[in-house]
Each structure stands twice: as C-alpha cells, then as structure tokens.
Symmetry: C2
Subunit: 205 residues, 2 copies
C-alpha cells in the first residue's frame, strides 16, 4: 500500500472516530438535559472536538438524534427481520410470540433513550418524520410475513395484509410507548402474550 | 318567582352565553391559526367580550381547547356508550362493526378540529393529559363490553380483558390519527371492516 493510500485510511479512521465521539457525547447530553434543553455546543464541548469539525459531520442536535434513533432502532429491526418462513401455524405463532416479546423487552431496555425520542417526536419535524419512516419499515416487514402466511395457507386470505400489518404494528407501538413511560399496568410478558394470542387467533387458520 | 331569582337566572343565562360565544371564537381562531400561533387575545376580540369577563370563564387558550376537545369527543363517547348486551356472537360483532366504523367516520368528519388537537397534544401537557383521560374512558368502556361477553360465554376467557381493550383501542386510535392526517391508504370502510374482523375473530368464540 502506498503512502497516499495509508494517509487516506488514517483520515477516514480519524473521521469515523470523531463521529463516534460526537454521537457518544450527544447521547450523554440528551440523557442529562432532555431533548429541548440539550444544545449542540454542550455536545461538542463534551466530545472535546472543534466546532468546525463537528459541523462537518452533523448539522445540529436533531441530526445527531436522528442517527442515535437509527442506531437504537436497528436492534429492533434485527428482531423484525428474523427470517419468517414457517411451515406450520404453530411455527408461525412461536416466531410472532418471540418477536413481540423481544420488541417490547427492547423498549424496556432502551427506556431512557426512547423517552428522549418520544419528547423529540412531539416537537421536531425531522425526528417525527424519521419515526414515521421507521414505522413504515416495520409495517412493510410485517406485511411481507403476513403475505407469506397467506400464500402458504397458514393465514386467512380475506383480510388485506397491509391493513392488518399496520393495525398490528400500531397495537405494538402504543404498548411500546406505554412501556417506555413505565405506565404499563401488567408485565411486559403478559402484554406480549395477550396481544399475540389475540392477533394470531384473528389472522391464522 | 321573586325578582331576585329572576335576576339570578338572567345572570346564569348571560354567563352561559358568554362562555358559548368565547368557545365559538376559540374554535374559529384555532382553525385559522393552528394551536401554536392562536392567542387568547384574538379569541376574546373575536367574541367581542371584555378581557375580565373572558378570564372568569377560561384561564387561557389551553383551557379553551380542553373544553372544545371534550365537546368533540362527547360525540365519540356516544358511539362507545351504545348499550352493549348482545345475546349472540353475531349481535356482538354487528355492534362492534358499527361502533368501529362510526368512530373512524367521526375522525373523518371532525378532521379539522382533530388536527388542532393533535398539534396541541404534542406541545401542551394540559391537552396531552386530557387526551390520556379521554383514552382511559374509552378503554374502560371497551373493557366492560369484553367482560360482559366473557361472562356470557360469547368471548374467550383466557385473555385479560383490560389488556385486550387497551390493545384494541390503540389500534383504533392510531388509525384515527392516520385518518385525521388524511394519510390512510384505504377507505375508512375497509379499515373498519378489516380491523373489526381481526379483533372479533381473535376474541369471540
């Protein structure tokens, strides 16, 4: 490898590290101050990097939160993206039960950052739009799973899979926010078991 | 009736009329300006009443919107409060189908004011708390209906009626906001029919 290529590599590495440092500081400041009171200056100071460098990476605190949101939600996506090719109804139900519980458990585990997201969704168009995009990705993934089940004779075909997917995600999402706010009146396990039973009995043959 | 009683009556009537005038002006100003930009001064001026008189009735614009929200939601309550004492599963399904459709149709009919409510829920604690109280009333009413159906052998008893009621309302609520924003991708009729089928098949025997 030539000297030029090595220099290029080092530059990329330094850039990635700066970005990571700034994201870590942003997370810390958001958790301490809440979305509204947090400022990008606090984040830049905490990361001990230059203002000019910081603004190369992010345009403002909303931009930083958008990336933090993507990072947290990626863990949720991994649950949703579990390969869904069940051979039997029982296999389908097992997977859905597992996904629902993991989804709501994740809300519990990520409660502090999710609370910041909820604050931000209420006041920032950038974050509200990002949340909407995330929601649509989940709904699409669920819709695919339903279509698979319908095509393989496991689920009833008289229901529009897109509308069912949306309704089912909405039920999960509202329970997710309830759990984030720590307002749920039952255990996460009972919530997951109950809504999964209702949904799968309603949809599967 | 003595003169004193008559004077008292007139005073009450005048007070009620002032209140109604102010609410009508508040509605008008909210619809024109949106929640954030609307001011109580605009409302008082539009109603052509004195500032002192206005503040006897309402403490501020949030207080006015809270009452407007109650008034709109009362129409929804009337749907939810339809006497629910079905003798058969078919009767239960018919009523639920009718309620769900009426609920979502109402969102469509009251779209403009509901949009103001949605804006306000995001930024005002008073309005957000009011919405939560409204939601709990709906959930309670649904939970009663489910308990009735379970006690009369129409619905399965292995599901916690409170958790089912909450999940079902959440599904309806999220579709309600979608319809309010005019973002729904199907007709209100198809949405209502699909989610009712999913729910009733999941819950009823």
């Amino acid at each position: 490898m030539g000297t030029e290529a090595k220099t290029e590599d080092r530059r990329h590495l330094r850039s990635a590290l700066t970005r990571q440092k700034l994201l870590a500081s942003a997370k810390k400041v958001f958790l301490e101050e809440g979305f509204q009171k947090a400022t990008i200056s606090q984040m830049i100071n905490d990361a001990k990097i230059g203002y000019g460098t910081a603004y190369v990476h992010f345009q403002g605190k909303e931009d930083l939160l958008r990336v933090l949101m993507e990072n947290v939600m990626e863990q949720f996506y991994e649950i949703a993206a579990i390969s869904f090719t069940p051979q039997t109804k029982e296999e389908a139900l097992r997977t859905i039960r597992h996904q629902t519980l993991a989804f709501l458990k994740m809300a519990e585990a990520e409660r502090n950052m999710m609370r910041i997201f909820e604050q931000a969704i209420g006041v920032s168009t950038v974050i509200a739009d990002k949340w909407k995009a995330i929601r649509e990705q989940f709904i699409e993934s669920i819709a695919c799973d339903i279509a698979y089940s319908q095509q393989h004779g496991l689920a009833r075909k008289d229901l529009n899979h897109l509308l069912v997917a949306r309704g089912w995600f909405y039920m999960n999402e509202m329970y997710l926010w309830e759990i984030v706010r720590d307002e749920q009146q039952s255990t996460v396990e009972e919530i997951a078991a109950t809504i999964t039973e209702l949904y799968t009995t309603g949809l599967y043959l």
